[in-house]
Structures are given as structure tokens and as C-alpha cells.
């Protein structure tokens, strides 16, 4: 079979990117479509005319390196397909939100119960994905471990639902609450990150996101005393502004929107060392 070009589209909150790849004979055949489905399969399909960017995935004949380009820029070159997937996931997300003006894009996890949601904003490496994973093991519904758009007009939430991304240093603790070995074939691991399909952790999934009821700022540290403290609206606003990733697109950088949010929601700062700390801490604040 001759190589044939295929185009996939990924949409999120009114924005679209395309991914072009070849599916042909030889090693690597048929590997990109499942990867794209793995990364973006939970994102609702939207009908959008304007394309923000086109990503091209190639594996030149005679080479064993995958390559990822956007326009003329090489974003990835290497043998590791999962490493390509990790890069593609990040680049596609950034491209889909970089021109978003409909809402605050908060770097955060988001989980929900039957009728309310918790926002988990944090910097990379703060244990955001890990605590999100733990919450799934407790029966919370998953929406994202990475990015939430809060609509400026009506407060509606949109989550960039993707596989859980667990960094290398967080993998051993995750192994205590999720059987990594028995799901080994369903994970995608690269040097930096292991991507875990969220349905393996909690098979229940729903697209609808109920309204926010609280904000929790997680901080994992092996040195800090475990605890959860209610913080003031101004402190929460400070933390949330730090997680407001495309503030430049918003009127006043979204400052008044952030403060409006923290005026109406309780906010907590969570420090934890082990997952064993979390049940009593969440119980303390009735979450």
C-alpha cells in the first residue's frame, strides 16, 4: 500500500488545529491514529472553519525517527512515539488556547461529584496530576489534570480532557494507588511522563461539568507538614492569577474576573506528603 496523507482535527472551545500524517506500509504503520485518539479522544468535536495551525507528523523513508513539525519548526525528532505524543499533546493544547478570548484559561485540574466541581490550580510539579489521580480513585469524576476554561460571561467550565500525565518523579507514589503493572500495555510512557487513560483509574466518565464549589491549591512536598487551610479571597486571587495562563488575551488580564471568582468560592491550600494524608485532610473541609 502506498503512503497516504491523513488529516485529523482537534477542537477545543471554538478553536481548531489539524494534524497531518501518513499512514503507509512499513514499521510504524497505523500508529499515529491511535496516538491521536489516545491524546485527544475525549475532546468534543466542534464545527470550526478557522484552523489555528497544522502539525505534521512524519517518519521519513529509511529513517526510524519520528518527526513533528509546525510550519517549518521542528518540534520533535526521535524514536520514541510516546515522547512524540507528549510533545504533540502540549503543543496542540497551547495552540488551541493561545488565541482564546472567551474565558480564563486556568492551569488546573478539575474533578467533580454529582453536582459540584473542584478546581485544582497549581504550577507544574506541584502534585496537581497526582492529587487529581487520587481523587479519581475515590470516585470523583475526571475532567482534566491540566487546563480549565472558565467562561467570562456565564462561568461555564470547559476542561481539556486528556490522559493523566504523571511525571517520572510522581510515578512511584501513583503505583501505591493504581496498579501500573497490570495496565502496563495501556499506558504510554516516555522519559519524562507516563500518560494514563483516566478511565483505567475511574471508569465512570461524563462530559458535563457541574458548577464549581471550591478551589484547592495542591502542594506536594516530602518536607512540608501535611495540612489544609482555608485561605482568604485575596490570597486565592494571588494564586489564581499565577495560574491564569493566557491573561494577556483578556480585558484587564482577567484580574476582575479572578477576584469575582474568589469572592464567591471557598479556597484552600493543601500540603501533602503521601496519599495517606489526603482522606482526613479533605474530610476536614467537607470535600
Amino acid at each position: 500500500m502506498a503512503n497516504s496523507a491523513v488529516e485529523a482535527t482537534v477542537t477545543f472551545d471554538g478553536h481548531k488545529v489539524s494534524i497531518e500524517y501518513s499512514e503507509g506500509e512499513g514499521e510504524g504503520e497505523g500508529e499515529i491514529k491511535p496516538l491521536i485518539e489516545f491524546l485527544f479522544g475525549d475532546l468534543p468535536v466542534e464545527q470550526i472553519a478557522t484552523n489555528e495551525a497544522t502539525f505534521v507528523i512524519e517518519r521519513p523513508t529509511g529513517q526510524d525517527n519520528w518527526q513533528l513539525h509546525r510550519n517549518q519548526s521542528k518540534l520533535f525528532s526521535g524514536k520514541d512515539l510516546n515522547g512524540l505524543g507528549n510533545t504533540l499533546g502540549g503543543e496542540v493544547l497551547f495552540t488551541l488556547i493561545e488565541n482564546n478570548q472567551s474565558g480564563m484559561a486556568i492551569h488546573a485540574g478539575l474533578v467533580s461529584t454529582k453536582d459540584s466541581s473542584i478546581l485544582l490550580p497549581a504550577d507544574s510539579g506541584s502534585g496537581k496530576s497526582s492529587v487529581t489521580t487520587w481523587l479519581l480513585t475515590q470516585g470523583w469524576y475526571y475532567h482534566t489534570d491540566e487546563l480549565v476554561i472558565i467562561n467570562l460571561q456565564n462561568g461555564a467550565l470547559k476542561a481539556f480532557t486528556r490522559p493523566l500525565n504523571i511525571k517520572s518523579h510522581g510515578l512511584a507514589p501513583i503505583g501505591e494507588i493504581f496498579d501500573l503493572n497490570s495496565h502496563h500495555g495501556e499506558l504510554r510512557a516516555s522519559n519524562m511522563v507516563t500518560m494514563i487513560p483516566h478511565r483505567l483509574v475511574n471508569p465512570s466518565y461524563r462530559e458535563e461539568i457541574p458548577p464549581l464549589s471550591a478551589i484547592v491549591f495542591p502542594h506536594y512536598s516530602k518536607d512540608s507538614e501535611p495540612g489544609i487551610q482555608k485561605i482568604s479571597g485575596a490570597e486565592a486571587g494571588l494564586e489564581l492569577m499565577r495560574s491564569n495562563v493566557i491573561a494577556r488575551n483578556l480585558p484587564g488580564h482577567g484580574f476582575s474576573d479572578v477576584t469575582r471568582l474568589v469572592r464567591r468560592l471557598p479556597a484552600y491550600r493543601l500540603h501533602y506528603q503521601h496519599f495517606d494524608d489526603l482522606p482526613s485532610l479533605f474530610k476536614q473541609v467537607n470535600l
Binding site: G233, A234, G237, L238, M241, R248, S256, T259
Partner: protein
């Protein structure tokens, strides 16, 4: 610092929430959190009074906290200066 006059900087947006203040500078994308004590001190940085006069004013208002007021004021104003939310000028 005691003889210098603190002026709150232009260009910061301010939101007061439950007696505390959150400042944001769109130009520098810097956010500054002021607890209730720092919020009070911030409001006194009006370009009219020196740091020493602010300390005396607060000592009069809160005699029970006299011991900590000077340290609180100096620390808070240094925080404002470090975040470019206040500039200090010499008294004339």
C-alpha cells in the same frame, strides 16, 4: 527609610476582599497580596507622610500593638517597594 515618603505607584488595579487587598499591574503582570495589616499601611502610602509618620500614626491608633508596628510598617513598605507598588522619595 523612616524619613522617606512612600508613594503608591500608578498602574496597579486594586481589589479589596474582606479587608485584604490584591494589587495587579497589567504592565508588569505582577500581583501583590496585602493582608489586612499591609492593606492598612498601603492606604497610608499617600505621598504625604513619611514612613516614620505612618508608624507614629499607627501607634496612636493601635497602642496595644506598639511593639510590632515599626517592624510591620518597614517590612510591608519594603515588600511594596520590592514589588514596585510603592516608590520612596526623600522628605523635602
Amino acid at each position: 527609610m523612616l524619613n522617606q515618603i512612600p508613594h503608591s505607584a500608578d498602574g496597579f488595579e486594586l481589589e479589596e476582599i474582606d479587608g485584604e487587598i490584591l494589587l495587579y499591574s497589567p504592565a508588569s503582570t505582577r500581583s501583590v497580596y496585602l493582608n489586612s495589616t499591609a492593606s492598612l499601611i498601603w492606604r497610608l502610602c499617600d505621598g504625604q507622610q513619611s514612613v516614620g509618620q505612618i508608624i507614629e500614626q499607627l501607634k496612636d491608633a493601635f497602642p496595644e500593638a506598639q511593639d510590632s508596628i515599626e517592624q510591620d510598617v518597614v517590612h510591608s513598605i519594603q515588600l511594596f517597594v520590592d514589588n514596585e507598588a510603592v516608590s520612596l522619595t526623600s522628605a523635602a
